[in-house]
């Protein structure tokens, strides 16, 4: 028994890939999930970017904006850009940046809101605050609605109370001089409490009328969300199949001697690599197409409405995945090494890049780290096509990054392939 333990220990001690798979990969995954769902990353709170349009420009709206600005969970954008002196957002520009995915949500404080509260206080549910939301991020919408209620309650209780008294007088008759004096003494306390930010004095629950508007106006929201998951899972498995295929194409052929035979023909190493890459890319295109067709047949994925964008993203994604597979296959010395290393890399990239759960659930810093992964760029492109109905030209950042990666990967694979004497 002791001998068997010794054999196992010696093999594990000398197999770095096995060590990484056994100890490192679980830690990496634990850290990613803990960062996303436990918010244990560097910036403890995932901040939601919110565009705010103040059409009312009243005391109430000013205080609501300030109340929202104090929230740790939000990062407000009131101008058309991040510059402090940029012009204020209007409704159209706010809707546009939600549609393009720059922010997940926008809040429009409508004209007349302050006046309605001054007149009717708690009962003023019109005009309603409008929340322009991208439903692909349901968390942002719900969180902002809650924080809006909180902002009104804690930032402007005095204004609401003053309006409420007016409303009361309309129904119940004028207050006595003594009652007026008591209200006059209480209102500054409410205002002071609001200024301190502790919401002193806000007792009764009062409702702010909120309209949530789906700015994506997707006819088939379910189908579009399914396309997101199809892309997420599809890209992850595309990476697995590309790496496996490249391993078969190079490592197995090197071992069997067919690579040597190919290299003794006129085709040369460059030709072999391009030929293998092209085949893997075509298989990748077929793999993603089958996946999306299945989604169309079984889950009503809106494939046929987005054929050009789908083709662009699928071709460029498959090309880049195949090129990454070639790099890993030329880097690895053995099949076992390739399999272990690529499993770690692909699962990590898929977790960080949004294949396992959407990146908008992650903190901002994690989202930035995610951009270092292959998956994030591919998934952002599919999201643009199927969710945002973006025109083809808007895919240029994804196409540029993925095609640059393809060229870099192929160049690296060519250099690494010199070990086979090509």
């Amino acid at each position: 028994m002791g001998t068997l333990l010794r054999i196992g220990w010696t093999n594990l001690k000398r197999d770095r890939v096995a060590q990484a798979l056994t100890f490192l990969l679980p830690i990496v995954f634990f850290s990613i999930f803990a960062s996303v769902f436990g918010q244990q990353s560097g910036d403890r709170t995932p901040r939601i970017r919110v565009a705010v349009v103040d059409e009312d420009r009243s005391e109430l709206s000013r205080r609501v904006v300030e109340g929202l600005r104090k929230e740790d969970g939000l990062r407000l954008q009131t101008g058309t850009s991040a510059e402090p002196d940029s012009p204020s957002l209007d409704r159209q520009s706010a809707e546009k940046i939600v549609r393009t995915g720059d922010v997940p949500i926008a809040v429009v404080l409508p004209q007349g809101m302050g006046a309605a509260f001054a007149e009717r206080g708690f009962a003023a549910t019109e005009p309603k605050v409008q929340v322009l939301a991208d439903p692909s991020d349901p968390i942002a919408s719900n969180m902002v609605q809650g924080l809006l209620q909180k902002a009104v309650m804690t930032s402007a209780p005095d204004l609401m109370m003053a309006g409420g008294i007016k409303q009361f007088e309309k129904v119940g008759g004028a207050l006595t001089a003594q009652q007026r004096q008591a209200v006059a003494q209480w209102l500054p306390q409410l205002q002071a409490g609001a200024a301190r930010g502790d919401g002193a004095g806000s007792g009764p629950t009062m409702g702010l009328g909120i309209d949530v508007i789906d700015v994506m106006r997707s006819d088939d929201r379910r189908g579009s969300l399914i396309s997101f998951y199809a892309a997420g899972i599809g890209v992850m498995f595309l990476l697995f199949s590309s790496v496996g295929g490249a391993g078969g194409a190079l490592l197995d052929e090197a071992e069997s001697g067919t690579l040597e035979r190919l290299l003794s023909t006129n085709i040369g190493m460059g030709g072999v690599l391009v030929g293998k890459w092209l085949f893997l890319a075509l298989v990748g295109v077929a793999q993603l197409t089958v996946m999306f067709l299945w989604g169309r047949l079984v889950f009503d994925l809106p494939l046929f409405q987005h054929i050009p964008g789908f083709l662009v993203m699928t071709v460029i994604t498959a090309a880049a995945a195949a090129a990454l597979g070639m790099v890993l296959a030329t880097l690895a010395r053995t099949r076992a090494q390739l399999s272990g290393f690529s499993t770690i890399l692909i699962l990590t990239m898929s977790a960080l890049g949004g294949s396992m759960f959407p990146r908008f659930l992650m903190s901002e810093s994690m989202q930035k780290v995610g951009l270092l992964t292959f998956n994030a760029w591919a998934l952002d492109g599919y999201l643009k096509v199927f969710w945002r109905n973006a025109p083809l030209w808007q895919l240029w950042p994804q196409v540029l990054v993925l095609s640059t990666l393809t060229v870099m990967f192929l160049g690296t694979a060519r250099v690494l392939a010199r070990r086979w004497g090509g």
Binding site: E255, S256, G257, T258, R261, T265, I267, G421
Partner: protein, 312 residues
């Protein structure tokens, strides 16, 4: 006429000297055996000739043209040591893909594939997956894939390794067929008997150098001479004094350090020289259990040149 020449080829892989001044010459239409133990540099030399390894120094010429180590000269056909075939393809499909990669046109391809299937005896199995083939059949197909484009020189790296004698004969039938067409062949082997029986000439390579070259007769003449090698096995070790008595006056008799019961002697005329030796053994009180008389062979040449058996 020389179709291939290698002069002072040198190649290092890190600290290891794979080739250390190897030279050889392949003549038109001959079957040249490149003989040496594992690690002697045979495969490196073959790969260098094929343009797959760039030499650190030295020169290789194929039909007078230098090989630059970047590409395989079109006059060469390469048959690697491994079964370099696609196992999921049929024999015909394997031949077709390698023929196409060698640059054959569609018309040539059909003709050459039929010829290859015929000459390797695989015509009846042409459309079967090669996973169902025996080792010998795969070896023959392996050779055929390397010669489809009608090369004038074929390099074969251990073409008969791991096959039974019958399959080996069929492989040599294929090679004889190629020689009949004027193709020059260079094959590596560590089968002495094969090199002795099949090759026109042999080059012996060891530690990256060609240490002898020629026909069997030339090699014997250059090294061990026309002696018979006589090995006696005694019933027990003779002891130092007795051994000295046995080999007294005969410079060509020596003991074997690895087995004190063995005595080896080189004799020009066994009938005259063996009886006195047996008599001296009897005189020191020992008897002879076994006597082996061997004519000169590549084995004895190799032992003479390198001081060790080939399969070390």
């Amino acid at each position: 006429m020389s179709v291939l020449s290698v002069v002072d080829a040198r190649k290092m892989f890190g600290p290891v000297k794979a080739l250390d001044g190897a030279s050889l010459e392949l003549r038109e239409g001959e079957l040249l055996g490149l003989l040496g133990p594992n690690g002697a540099g045979k495969t490196t030399l073959i790969r260098a000739i094929a343009g797959r390894v760039r030499l650190d120094a030295g020169e290789i010429r194929v039909f007078g043209q230098p090989v630059d180590g970047r590409r395989t000269p079109p006059e060469l056909g390469i048959v690697p040591q491994e079964i370099a075939l696609y196992p999921l393809m049929t024999a015909r499909e394997n031949l077709a893909v390698f023929g196409r990669l060698q640059g054959l046109t569609s018309a040539e391809l059909g003709r050459q594939v039929d010829w290859a299937l015929e000459s390797t005896g695989l015509k009846d199995r042409a459309n079967e997956s090669i996973r169902q083939f025996s080792g010998g059949m795969r070896r023959r197909l392996n050779i055929a894939c390397g010669v489809l484009h009608r090369p004038r020189i074929v390099l074969l790296d251990e073409p008969t390794v791991g096959v039974d004698p019958q399959s080996r004969d069929r492989i040599y039938d294929v090679l004889d067929d190629l020689r009949g067409r004027g193709v020059s062949l260079l094959l590596t082997t560590h089968h002495l008997e094969e090199a002795e029986a099949r090759c026109s000439r042999t080059v012996i390579i060891d530690h990256g150098r060609a240490i002898a070259a020629g026909t069997l007769g030339e090699l014997v003449e250059q090294t061990v001479g026309r002696f018979r090698l006589v090995t006696l096995r005694l019933d027990a070790a003779a002891g130092q004094a007795a051994t000295a008595e046995i080999i007294r006056g005969a410079r060509t008799i020596e003991g074997d350090p690895s087995d004190p019961r063995l005595l080896r002697a080189r004799m020009r005329d066994v009938a005259i020289e063996l009886p006195p030796l047996l008599e001296r053994v009897r005189q020191v009180g020992r008897s002879v259990e076994d006597v082996e008389v061997k004519g000169p062979s590549l084995q004895s040449v190799f032992i003479h040149l390198t001081g060790r058996e080939l399969r070390e």
